[in-house]
């Protein structure tokens, strides 16, 4: 399968298979960057995979005070789900429990979509009749009296149906340390790409999964072909020199954004080189039958 080597890093001739998703973007601000980030981190916690969390969410980027609607430091957050209904539910729960509750926070729409999701339009009822509606130009805000003043929340946020989830890179290295260094380097480069999130812890997932299991109640199980400790016991995908594998999963507001992130990650891995980082890079797919979007590594290598 391997056909390419870039500066000593072996690149599999394979592709990442990604799926259409529903997504939205929010801008969370607060009095300080620390508290804007705290609200965003809390809201995007336990949102690594739609399999068990209902949605995938993460921080896109920090936003300078001069670029936010209220002139305070902000954080842009992206939320992905498989259906509009689930996205709406996750949005309401997460903003209601994690952003509304965070000191000094405000929450704005940050995506123009053809359809809208309810944001403040649902949360306003928390104010028990004391909510105040304000329309400034084309934008509609709700002001909710809370114990530290007011929570300001945009009435709705945009929905996109052309988001893409499941772009990925499989980073294979000699041992856990070099593999982790490689993954961290790739994550740093990919986080700089706008309109994407890496939903797993620190952007990295160590327990890649396959569909199904020997147990009929389990829908996803360990990706045994990429487990180094099973190399001799199963039909392994790993070479003799591979001691550890880490995966980076990418969700983006568009296929182009996911492609850009994968390109940036590959470039960073190639630049780091095989001695300090990855010996080999692959990608996960399901034979190309499940997802509409195929990101071929050979097209993305620098």
């Amino acid at each position: 399968m391997r056909t390419l080597t870039a500066k000593g890093v072996r690149i599999d001739d394979t592709f990442a298979e990604a799926f259409d998703m529903r997504a939205t973007a929010l801008l969370i601000t607060a009095d300080t960057a620390r508290w804007a980030k705290q609200a965003a981190v809390t809201m995007t916690g336990f949102a690594t995979s739609v399999i068990g969390c209902g949605c995938e969410a993460g921080i896109d980027r920090m936003v300078k005070a001069s670029e936010t609607p209220d002139g305070r430091p902000g954080v842009r957050v992206l939320l992905f789900a498989t259906s509009t209904g689930e996205l709406q539910k996750q949005l309401a729960n997460r903003v209601g429990q994690c952003v509304l509750t965070s000191p000094g926070s405000a929450c704005y729409a940050d995506l123009a979509g053809t359809e809208n999701l309810r944001l403040g339009n649902g949360l306003r009822y928390f104010a028990d009749g004391w909510q105040i509606s304000k329309r400034f130009g084309a934008r509609h805000f709700w002001r909710l009296p809370v114990m530290d003043g007011e929570f300001v929340c945009e009435a709705t946020t945009g929905l996109t149906k052309t988001a893409v989830g499941g772009g990925n890179l499989l980073i294979m290295g000699a041992n856990t340390e070099t593999t982790r260094t490689a993954a961290e380097t790739a994550v740093e480069a990919m986080m700089a790409v706008s309109d994407v999130i890496l939903p797993f812890p620190g952007g990295i997932v160590r327990s890649g999964s396959k569909v199904g299991s020997k147990y009929k109640q389990v829908i996803a199980s360990t990706n045994h072909a990429y487990c180094p400790t099973l190399r001799g016991a199963v039909a392994s995908e790993l070479d003799q020199d591979i001691g550890a594998v880490l995966e980076i999963v990418i969700d983006g507001l568009s296929a182009a954004a996911v492609g850009n992130a994968m390109r940036a990650g590959l470039a960073a891995l190639v630049k780091l080189g095989p001695k300090r980082g990855a010996l080999r890079v692959g990608a996960g797919n399901y034979g190309g039958k499940l997802g509409r979007h195929h990101f071929h590594l050979k097209d993305l290598v620098p």
């Binding site: 601000t29 609607p69 105040i132 304000k134 400034f136 003043g149």
Partner: protein, 270 residues
């Protein structure tokens, strides 16, 4: 393309109904057809050609050179384009506008921007009473759009305001924001007696603490609100007068408790 210009020949002999001088009523008309449009409000017939010299141009940009407090209904129902009046206007300027931009360099009479639904009205001078307000028989006044008054406003500015933003850079008369339903009314300097009289919801912002405030407005303390930053950003392209006011914490009064009591008045802490 050059604007369609109408130059005043002499002071009008009677009040004029200029509601026909809007782009959607002039598009496709020749200069001769425009000159024949009747604008009289008395039994003495009068046409546009009698009062104005016409220079043809783009009807989406109408320029009226010269003004008079007898120019009534200027920009009535304006939906798109721009009307600039180089002078004063009379009653109900910009009434029921839904879009576009009306600029009056001089003063405007009562009911300016009455029932405004959208668009922008900018008045360089002062306005008469009931800015944005309803005419008799109407339930609500202005319900959208933006009004900027560089001078002062008469009594009951923002009467029954329902939606939209009114900025008065100077002073406002008695009963500013009277019977306000919702929306935002901002006054850069002082207001007359009983601001927010019987307001239900909405926001009134005044540059100096009112001298005679209603006892049915209750003090809610001094606050620095995020909403003020959003309001400041919204009005900054149109007026810089409110920047300084909205930067500092403001005292919030809730009222009018004699009505629904969900409204608010902000002023600098005395």
């Amino acid at each position: 393309m050059k604007p369609l210009a109408l130059t005043l020949r002499e002071a009008p002999p009677q009040r004029l109904d200029l509601s026909s001088l809007v782009p959607h009523k002039l598009t496709g008309k020749t200069a001769a057809e425009i000159a024949r449009i009747a604008i009289a409000t008395t039994r003495e017939p009068l046409t546009i050609g009698d009062i104005f010299m016409i220079r043809m141009g783009d009807p989406l940009a109408i320029r009226i050179e010269g003004g008079s407090e007898r120019f009534d209904e200027v920009g009535h129902g304006l939906a798109e384009g721009e009307i600039v009046v180089d002078g004063d206007v009379g009653l109900r300027a910009g009434r029921l506008m839904t879009g576009g931009r009306l600029v009056i360099t001089g003063h405007a009479g009562p009911w300016a921007a009455s029932g405004l639904k959208g668009g922008t009205v900018e008045i360089g001078g002062s306005v008469g009473e009931r800015l944005g307000g309803p005419v008799p028989g109407e339930v609500a006044g202005m319900r959208g759009g933006l009004v900027i008054v560089r001078g002062n406003a008469g009594e009951r500015a923002g009467d029954r305001l329902r939606r939209g933003t009114i900025m008065i850079e100077g002073h406002a008369g008695a009963y500013a924001a009277s019977r306000m339903i919702a929306g935002t009314l901002m006054v850069g300097r002082s207001v007359g007696p009983l601001p927010g009289y019987l307001m239900r919801r909405g926001t009134l912002l005044v540059g100096t603490p009112p001298e005679a405030s209603s006892p049915t407005f209750v003090d809610c303390g001094v606050h620095d609100l995020v909403a003020h930053r959003l309001l400041a950003a919204h009005v900054r392209p149109h007026s810089r007068v409110f920047d300084r006011l909205l930067k500092a914490p403001l005292r919030r009064f809730a009222g009018d408790m004699a009505a629904m009591g969900k409204g608010e008045m902000f002023c600098p802490p005395a």
